[in-house]
């Protein structure tokens, strides 16, 4: 009450930095004075001043939001949320008082509300794991099977030597040495054949997908 009476005696004091801030964060006073003047003009209908004050407070709001959120999308969402709140209650700002605490309180209220909402959502929702799948066996995923048929058909179209090299090295995932021992073909020949097989497969499958 006493503070109010003092203020009424000096109505033109724009920033009273010696007084208690209404919130936890206070912007530096020079910047605060700029924002105070810009915001007062914006209330009177100056669009350019409004645009400038919103642009200038955004990095500050982003730094406040970054303290509470990690995900950049969350931070940006929170900043926009705060900007919309500022817009909807801009008539509550009193230019006789500093702008920083006004802004910081709005920002913190919105951020806390967001965190609470997120917390509630996390309690309600769970991430799906493999255990939640109705049928988790890979062969049950029917949407993959057309591709498998296509690939099997393409492999069958390859010359026999290339087929053998591909099956041993890529599908059974053997090393060159093991494949050479199993098939009795030299390592150099296996290399050449698997390389050619991959090349022609790539060509065949691309041709089919891009008619």
């Amino acid at each position: 009450m006493i503070r109010d009476r003092n203020r009424r005696a000096t109505p033109l004091r724009l920033v009273d930095s010696d007084e208690r801030p209404g919130a936890h964060e206070v912007a530096p006073s020079a910047r605060d004075l700029d924002w105070t003047i810009l915001m007062a003009r914006a209330q009177d209908g100056d669009r350019a001043a409004y645009l400038r004050v919103l642009q200038e407070v955004t990095p500050y709001l982003r730094s406040l939001a970054a303290r509470r959120h990690r995900d950049p999308h969350d931070i940006e969402d929170a900043v926009q949320d705060i900007l919309l709140t500022i817009h909807s209650i801009r008539q509550t700002y009193d230019p006789a008082r500093p702008f920083g605490p006004w802004l910081a309180t709005i920002a913190n209220r919105r951020l806390i509300d967001r965190l609470r909402r997120q917390g509630r959502r996390k309690n309600r929702e769970i991430t799906l794991t493999l255990d939640h799948e109705a049928v988790s066996a890979p062969e049950a995923h029917l949407d993959h099977s057309p591709d498998r048929h296509e690939l099997a058909k393409a492999i069958n179209d390859l010359p026999p030597m290339q087929q053998q090299a591909l099956r041993l090295l890529k599908i059974k995932e053997m090393s060159l040495k093991e494949a050479a021992a199993v098939s009795g073909v030299s390592i150099a020949s296996l290399k050449v054949n698997v390389h050619r097989a991959m090349k022609s497969l790539r060509k065949m499958l691309l041709d089919r997908s891009e008619p």
């Binding site: 109010d4 209404g22 009177d44 209908g45 645009l51 919103l54 940006e76 909807s88 209650i89 309180t105």
Partner: protein, 222 residues
Amino acid sequence: MITTPDLIASLATRMTPVRRLRPPAFRAAGWLLLAAIILALLAVNQGIRPDLVERLREPAFALRMLGAVLTAILAAIAAFMVSLPDRSRLWLLLPAPALAIWLLNIGYQCLTDWIAIGPEGMSPGEAARCFATLVLTSLPLSLTMLVMLRYSASLRPTAVALMGSLAIAAITATALSLFHTIDASLMILMWNVGTAAMFVGLAGTFGRRMFEWVALRSCRRN
């Protein structure tokens, strides 16, 4: 999703000049004036209780009335203060002393001279009239406060709603004591503490939603 620079640009182009809010104490005074007018109209319509003057000479009754009126005034100021973003939340403590006087007085009276039922008892007709006073006082005051404080929806809706409802409850209790002969301790307890508990409870449960609803309406209109 819209990018932040785009959002800022669209807010700036959509912006219209706004009228700054008057100082909170001034707004609270306006609301209290409305409350006084409503009480005066009810007094003309229903008539003051016949024994008011002699009851006011009793310290207990006078203190109770004083406590209720002070609670109403201070809670209204606190509600308008706390509804602004840059005011301290300590304003919420402003009505505490008056509230303590009011409630302790009722409690003390209940302890010292418990009058279960007054000499003439409580007739159903009187209860209905009490209820009418309660609704006629609280309804217009609640709606006015809801509209006056709609912008606080995005800040501290619950705290503001609690303070506002405390002010409304205190005024309603004052009205009941002014217009109806409620002398039985049980009745005093019910109509004072019960009213206060009911309004504060309703505000705690629905305050946030009501403010958001009113704020949404006014946003759409703009």
